[in-house]
């Protein structure tokens, strides 16, 4: 099948791949390397690209920092809470929208509205959030931050889950209807269990969105509900020289989504395009 490749062309192609991997991956390598470097090697000229003098000092410092532990727990709680709420609220809505019990106009209207929310820049709601949360006494609380993260995740969950539900064979649902299953049972006992992997991937995406979110967290939290992204940002201002420490927090922040992303790799494209393109 495959025509033989000219050696010159092969080496050009090879160089292209090498360049791609170098440009895209070197920065990550640099971050991880800096986090393991002892302090005296982080700011040298020329820079140290390889070293065997690796240390865990930065990580030890991160794990022994009491306030960082609080921020980590905040990040985790908010991200898990957001994921759980967004996936349950969003799946219910998506199932309802995937069936034709409500009028076409209503369903189409709601989906278009949700699509527009995906398009709007978050800063537009970020500033009013502060005033609104203050009114209900939720500034600098995890639940307040969680609530705002729902505006980023619910639209996402609805569109993604809608795609998964629409992919299910219609006969299943019809059969259940004829057997007298209510809408609720068809969701809970048939639809939802069948899209299991889809739910997992949607949850991963929702988690990463909330885990990485910085803008709302920086406006709405000061200490009690402060998350890791906000902590890193304040580091830049306060601990200007401790690049090793900051890189350690950055690496740690990357590990969590990486673990999740490897699990959900297969469906990432569907998530990226809001369900518009399927692999």
């Amino acid at each position: 099948m495959k025509p033989s490749v000219h050696p010159l062309r092969a080496s050009i192609i090879g160089a292209g791949y090498a360049l791609l991997v170098l440009v895209m991956v070197f920065p990550i390598y640099w971050l991880v390397l800096t986090s393991f470097k002892p302090g005296y090697l982080t700011q040298t000229n020329p820079p140290v690209f390889f070293t065997s003098k690796l240390t865990l000092t930065n990580y030890a410092q991160v794990f022994h920092d009491d306030s960082l532990r609080v921020f980590f727990l905040n990040s985790l709680t908010v991200a898990l809470g957001t994921t759980f709420s967004a996936v349950s609220i969003g799946s219910l809505a998506a199932f309802s929208l995937s069936k034709s019990h409500l009028s076409y106009g209503l369903r189409h209207g709601i989906l278009t509205w949700i699509l527009l929310i995906r398009v709007f820049p978050p800063i537009v709601v970020g500033i009013p959030y502060f005033t609104l949360l203050q009114r209900v006494g939720l500034t600098d609380t995890r639940s307040g931050l969680l609530l705002t993260h729902l505006s980023l995740t619910i639209p996402f969950v609805v569109w993604l889950m809608l795609g998964f539900f629409q992919d299910l064979p219609e006969e299943l649902d019809k059969a259940a209807m004829i057997d007298g299953c209510s809408m609720w049972r068809r969701f809970w006992q048939i639809g939802f269990p069948l899209v299991g992997p889809g739910v997992a991937v949607t949850a991963i995406f929702a988690f990463i969105i909330s885990w990485n979110e910085y803008l709302f967290a920086s406006i709405l939290t000061s200490f009690n509900a402060k998350t890791l992204p906000v902590a890193i940002a304040t580091f830049i201002g306060e601990r200007r020289l401790e690049w090793g420490l900051m890189s350690a927090v950055g690496t740690f922040m990357l590990i969590v989504p990486v673990l999740f992303a490897f699990i959900g790799q297969r469906y990432i494209v569907q998530g990226l395009t809001f369900g518009a393109v399927k692999e």
Binding site: Y17, V21, V23, M24, P27, I28, L31, T34, T42, P47, F49, A93, S96, K99, S100, H101, L102, R107, L111, T112, L115, L116, I117, V119, F120, P121, I123, V124, V125, I127, P128, Y129, L132, S151, I154, L162, I178, D179, G180, S182, M183, Y214, S218, I232, A233, F235, I236, S247, V249, G250, M253, L254, V258, I268, V269, T273, A276, V277, K278, E279
Partner: protein, 320 residues
Amino acid sequence: MLDTGVKKGGAARPRPTSRLSVIASGLVDDRGISALMLAPAVLVLLAINVYPILYTMYLSLFQYDASIPNAVPVFAGFENYRKLLSDANFLSSARITLTFVTAAVSIELTVGILIGLMISGRHPLIRAARVALLLPFIMAPVAAGVLWRTLFNVSWGPLDWLIRHLGLPPQQFLASPSQALMAVTMVEIWQQLPPVAFVVAAGYSSLPRDVYLAAAVDGASIWQTFWRITLPLLRPVIFVILLLRTMDAFKVYDIIAMLTQGGPASQTKLVSYLIWESGVRFLDMGRASAMSCIFLIAVFLISLLFIRALAWARVQTGAT
């Protein structure tokens, strides 16, 4: 994208067969349950999306400087908007934002398509490259900010080292008013190339193979195959990712906050950062709200334009 995929026309509602469901359907029928299932999402989004936007629109009509103690909003009509139209900071920020979005998205698309074709194979090494490409994309923008601050550092950063080794004069990167926007754009591109490449790769691998066989039989060159077959067939996919990338590029705030804080000399002050500065740092709520509304409408109009183009591309290629 505007085609929401919702099916028209109701499925025939079956007659309840058991006594239990007769009772159940008497209390809440499927239509009722459907509405109930939709209700939480609609209510939450009304509260955390529609309400804040309406509140912003309302505030944009007031003179309200919250940095003054005990200040109360004073109704000012369209005064905030009128001022913004001649506000040099706002206009230059709008121009910078358009430059940023255009540059970032066009490079992401062209290079992303190329990378997408590169990573669409099944070779184990290519699969490994795909996994590696995930990393920049799933990294928190704030973490990417820390990372690129170290890369761009002018006295010990690797980029400075590279430039010296290539025999070029030392550069200021983030500290230079003429280079900072380019540097920030580069970080954005680095993070957002992978999603473009992934989507293009997925679209490419789902294209019909026989077309390519036919082209090969007819002796088409790689170049001809790309321009005449691959690109036209990928058009719908490319339009979707173009729309999403453009809308997301307008949202960029995190990397500006981490890398430049809008500086030097306000050369990287994107509109989202300017709104943040005006509303959060200077607490000028009226001005920030008016900017938010203009920004919202602009982004909305641009996405509408794109959606139209997308629908057109779908018609041209006979829908995917």
